[in-house]
Amino acid sequence: MSEKYCPPQEPSVPPSRGEKLLGRPGESLQKTTSMTMIQALRSAMDVMLERDDNVVVFGEDVGYFGGVFRCTEGLQKKFGSSRVFDTPISESGIVGVAVGMGAYGLRPVAEIQFADYVYPATDQIVSEAARLRYRSAGEFIAPITLRMPCGGGIYGGQTHSQSPEAYFTHVCGLRTVMPSNPYDAKGLLIASIENNDPVIFLEPKRLYNGPFDGHHDKPVVPWSQHPQGEVPEGYYTVPLEAAAVYRPGNELTVLTYGTMVFVAEAAAMESGIDAEIIDLRSLWPLDLDTIVNSVKKTGRCAVVHEATRSSGFGAELTALVQEHCFYHLEAPIERVAGWDTPYPHAQEWAYFPGPARVAEGFKRAMEK
């Protein structure tokens, strides 16, 4: 991880709501604004398109229209169609041209319309982007960022709901990142664009407009009511490979990321368990120290993710924790995850690991 993108004292939780001036290394004091995650992502691309001529943004429907989730709205108008443009519907092509552009010297930021549609690009990601530096001994690199909305909770059915992170965390040479809030989303996206490794940037779409805690039957809370919805307007980064302790606690370490951060918080509150919730933010490479320190403190651990359970990223987290904290563990590490089925449309909430199911898992982790 390059020094430049990793100011050592980076606060992992931004200051609370309201217009504030933040000091950032190498930047003057900044104005902040309340942003949704969509606005924060757009702002990150806007800032980077402005700062670096080599940044280009493209994907299906991202140009004139601004993307099906509107993350790139207005950017083509501002930066022109040779910096921000629509592509043919070909995920392998999108990643393939990004690799070529990266080899040339650009920093492509490409959108895959839904993470569920990334599979046609697998070969270009796994065999090409991730291995180019290695196989050419550093002669060519692929400094590309692949943004893709992931996760369920919007009745998207099996092809608009997937969380495919485990396919990527197994690929050496890739970075996999998943923010859980607007502040991190912007800071991590800028750090990803500046990073010289290929980055899979997963955006939990259920969080685009607010910190969804899994209570789908309750009214939606907007980001404007959450401290992490307060985002500096200009350039800043959130370091890669650095987890955030989202909620300190002493009884149970919860390893999670994306939407499940808020679901875990709800589960902790509702179960009354004093859980320390760690928002991993960067899934791979991973901030193992933060994890190990916490588990050594609490002696118990639960891993929560929305992706299907078996061979999911939770398996690696579980394996690592038992390897590094075995003698501190008082009970088996619990995994709470999506079931090992496709994401069904009508049974969405029976599939989704909501607060009740997560709380059950917490209780099991505490009981034994």
């Binding site: 004139y64 040779s82 443009f85 519907i89 092509g93 009745y155 078996s310």
Partner: protein, 414 residues
């Protein structure tokens, strides 16, 4: 290395744009519409290499007055045409009613095929029973032409307890095996190469059934489209590859899929596949071209690629607002008109239809759709929670449920 470069200006990126954006008027001359009857009809056993020109032409039968002209005018009884018009009408009425149901939040999502009804309905008439269609989400006309009970379809749309797909698929992603309608994937283009595989299987088994695959203009950019052409050509698979060029792929114009300065039909030329470009809003042309292609396939003459030129008159889906990226009145100016109106005019011309009959059939079908919706709603909906049980979520992942899924089902307590 020496200096070879001619004195050229700096390079620049070309990014295609449609001729009309909101507030403008689209110049449709890029379609190169030719008069009805002008394009030749070669015998079905002509070598693909000898008919490359047809991929750049336009097969049309119905002229501006609704008369059938030229070599492609098919042999088809007025009875079948009346059935076709009725099926198109039913499709349109069904779409309109389901769109309302979605706005009323009865259905979670919907996709209509407004303006494209002729393509799937006439094609269905040109196929045989047992032929297998591999559709996208915009071929509901196949289901109407094959008279699948509406209640069944609406139960899928409502994701209710009688949804044949058990609530697992988004609305419109039907699977109706008995009607030769393959399960629709949410992933674009994947089914085209599967159709080729199905056709190869039919050939391996010495069957007489053929496959017909569907793909949108935008989706032809996906790799699987190419793969399908390559395999279809190499093994002379008995398959029809239908490219529905409705000019748009969500917000992107067909030129972003590679339609600029060429045609989608032309994609078949390089692969040695017989390729036609056809007026998709001309019921008779669709029927005639489909028959030609089906005959080729069935006689071991190999695959045919057909580009159907049409226009997506509605939004991409109920999540889409097309006025954001194209002129609101675009369809009105589309030079190939409305397929329903055109067939209706033809039937009236040949004395097989009338305004009065049209009105009464329309009313009848509206009533039929309304009744079907009502019945289907009586079986519940996603909105009211009357869906398939959570336990069923764990079924059909494998043929028999493995231990780990049993454990998970127990954990859920269902």
């Amino acid at each position: 290395m020496s200096k070879n470069a001619p004195a050229c200006t700096p390079l620049r990126l070309h990014v295609p744009e449609p001729t009309g954006r909101p507030g403008q008027h689209t110049d449709f001359s890029y379609l190169h519409v030719t008069p009805a009857g002008a394009t030749r009809r070669p015998p079905v056993d002509t070598q693909p290499a000898a008919i490359g020109d047809l991929a750049f032409a336009l097969v049309r039968v119905l002229d501006a007055d609704g008369n059938a002209v030229g070599p492609w005018a098919p042999q088809i009884t007025p009875e079948r045409l009346r059935f076709g018009l009725r099926a198109m009408l039913k499709t349109r009425i069904f779409d309109a009613r389901m769109l309302i149901a979605q706005r009323q939040k009865k259905i979670s999502f919907y996709m209509q095929c407004l303006g494209e009804e002729a393509i799937s309905v006439a094609h269905a008439l040109a196929l045989d029973e047992g032929d297998m269609c591999f559709p996208t989400y915009r071929q509901q006309g196949l289901l109407m032409a094959r008279e699948v009970p509406l209640v069944e379809l609406i139960c899928q749309l409502l994701s209710n307890q009688r949804d044949p797909l058990k609530g697992r698929q988004l609305p419109v992603l039907y699977s109706v095996r008995k009607a030769g309608f393959f399960s629709i994937s949410g992933n674009l283009a994947t089914q085209v190469v599967q159709a080729v595989g199905w056709g190869m299987a039919a050939a391996i088994k010495g069957d007489t059934k053929i496959a017909s695959a569907w793909i949108g203009d935008g989706s032809t950019a996906e790799a699987d489209f190419h793969t399908a052409l390559v395999f279809a050509h190499v093994y002379r698979a008995p398959v029809i590859i239908n490219v529905v060029n409705n000019q748009w792929a969500i917000s992107t114009f067909q030129a972003i899929a590679g339609g600029e300065g060429t045609t989608f039909a032309a994609r078949g030329i390089g692969s040695g596949i017989a390729s036609l470009r056809v007026d998709g809003n001309d019921f008779l042309a669709v029927y005639a071209a489909s028959r030609w292609a089906a005959e080729r396939a069935r006689c071991n003459l190999g695959p045919t690629l057909i580009e159907w030129v049409t226009y997506r008159a509605g939004g991409h889906s109920t999540s889409d607002d097309p006025t954001k990226y194209r002129p609101a009145d675009d369809w009105k100016n589309f030079p190939l008109g409305d397929p329903l109106e055109r067939l209706k005019q033809h039937l009236i011309n040949i004395g097989a239809w009338s305004e009065e009959e049209h009105q009464s059939v329309q009313k009848e079908l509206e009533a039929e759709v309304a009744a079907a919706l009502k019945e289907a709603e009586s079986y519940g909906s996603l909105a009211d929670g009357h869906v398939h049980s959570a336990a069923e979520m764990f079924e059909d992942v494998y043929e028999e449920m493995p231990e780990h899924l049993r454990r998970q089902r127990q954990e859920l307590g269902v």
